[in-house]
Symmetry: C2
Subunit: 206 residues, 2 copies
DNA sequence: CTCCAAGCGGAATGAGGTATTCCGGTTATC
DNA sequence: GATAACCGGAATACCTCATTCCGCTTGGAG
């Protein structure tokens, strides 16, 4: 977000700033972090010049979007966890939220993909860690309660959310069309109450 | 594959052609269909000029790679299915094969992603259909035998294989590092003998 | 109502990246 | 030993963006 040291923005400028942030968010969720600036501009219904009057560079815009996005993610996740009866329902609700249209676990991608410039932003890093901690609590609680299988970790959850919800236009059509279907398949796989013929190979990350 | 109407290739040229095809395959599996030609050349240890003496355009090379790849995939899949005691072991072995290094279910990607030029190649289309038919038989048999859950389809299988094994460098690190881990998680989700609290949302594609 | 700084759209610029071509030097094969 | 095939890789031609620039608009203070 641009610093607001100086004079307040004119009404139309403030309006455009909102449109830009929201367009940028959508575009990034859909096309990934290297979507062209012009796509954002068109989506926001403004000229590229307008983008650059508010954000000096592409990275600045991405950074602002990322910060706002993770902050939202933390809020939503906390609300879900607090409102749920138990860890398993919380997990299910979280998954549904991530699968809802326009949501996309972008933060998950940001958490894993190499975008040094963004990850280095203090506000982003703080929120991101907060989110990971929330998930960590959720997974641990579920495992203690015996509803989430013991041999997976938070990193697995993040990886799965990322894989099924990020950048729909680079995913197989089926997955992009019904992320919820695949996320629920994943839920079935995480269910501790199912019998397992063989142990999971590899090690839980994070 | 270049037509061999004309004179046979010189020995060194034939050698290079092999290196090119294999390099191209690896590069495409790793970096996706839009990997630069020069990457292929370097990997093959030849100059770009050599690529172009054999393949008139990038598409021609990709087409040749795709045809060869799906053909291999069909062979491997058929071998696995024929050799396995039952559909479920076949599925497990197939998954392990796809997870093995350098394998990557490229064909799955090709099956789903829009690469018209390649999909239109008759030999490719034929092999691809053959592969889908094999999988279809596998899934159906498994479902009849009660080992593969009934509410998923071949398209789901293809989508999952694609998602976890294609283009490692665009995947979350954890997934790229241990595709087998995530594919086995998927196997657990496909297991018909596990109890399911809620039905899977959406519809099985294909 | 007037004025003008703050805004705006979008064409123009420039850098970076990659498919394809070209050519002087090699090397199988006869 | 001759020569048609081959090679490597520099040079060329495009194309895709990020970013800049500038003439036109407009919110809103006076």
């Amino acid at each position: 977000m641009p610093t607001n040291d100086a004079a307040p923005l004119r009404a139309d400028a403030r309006r455009n700033l909102t449109k830009i942030m929201s367009a940028a968010r959508d575009v990034v969720v859909e096309h990934g972090l290297d979507a062209p600036m012009e796509l954002v501009a068109r989506r926001a219904g403004v000229g590229v010049g307008t983008l650059y009057r508010r954000f000096p560079t592409r990275e600045a815009l991405l950074g602002a979007v990322a910060e706002a996005y993770v902050a939202d993610l933390v809020t939503a996740t906390r609300r879900i966890i607090d409102g749920a009866a138990d860890p398993w329902s919380a997990l299910r609700e979280l998954v549904d939220w991530c699968a809802s249209p326009g949501q996309g676990a972008l933060a998950a991608a940001l958490a894993d993909l190499p975008v040094a410039q963004v990850r280095a932003l203090p506000a982003f890093a703080r929120s991101r860690q907060e989110w990971l901690d929330l998930l960590d609590g959720l997974v641990t609680d579920g495992q203690r309660a015996g509803t989430i299988r013991a041999d997976i970790g938070t990193g697995d959850l993040v990886a799965l959310l990322t894989v099924f919800t990020c950048h729909p236009d680079q995913l197989p059509r089926h997955v992009a069309d019904q992320p919820a279907r695949y996320l629920h398949l994943m839920l079935d796989a995480l269910d501790a109450t199912a019998p397992r013929a063989t142990p999971l190979p590899g090690t839980p990350p994070s």
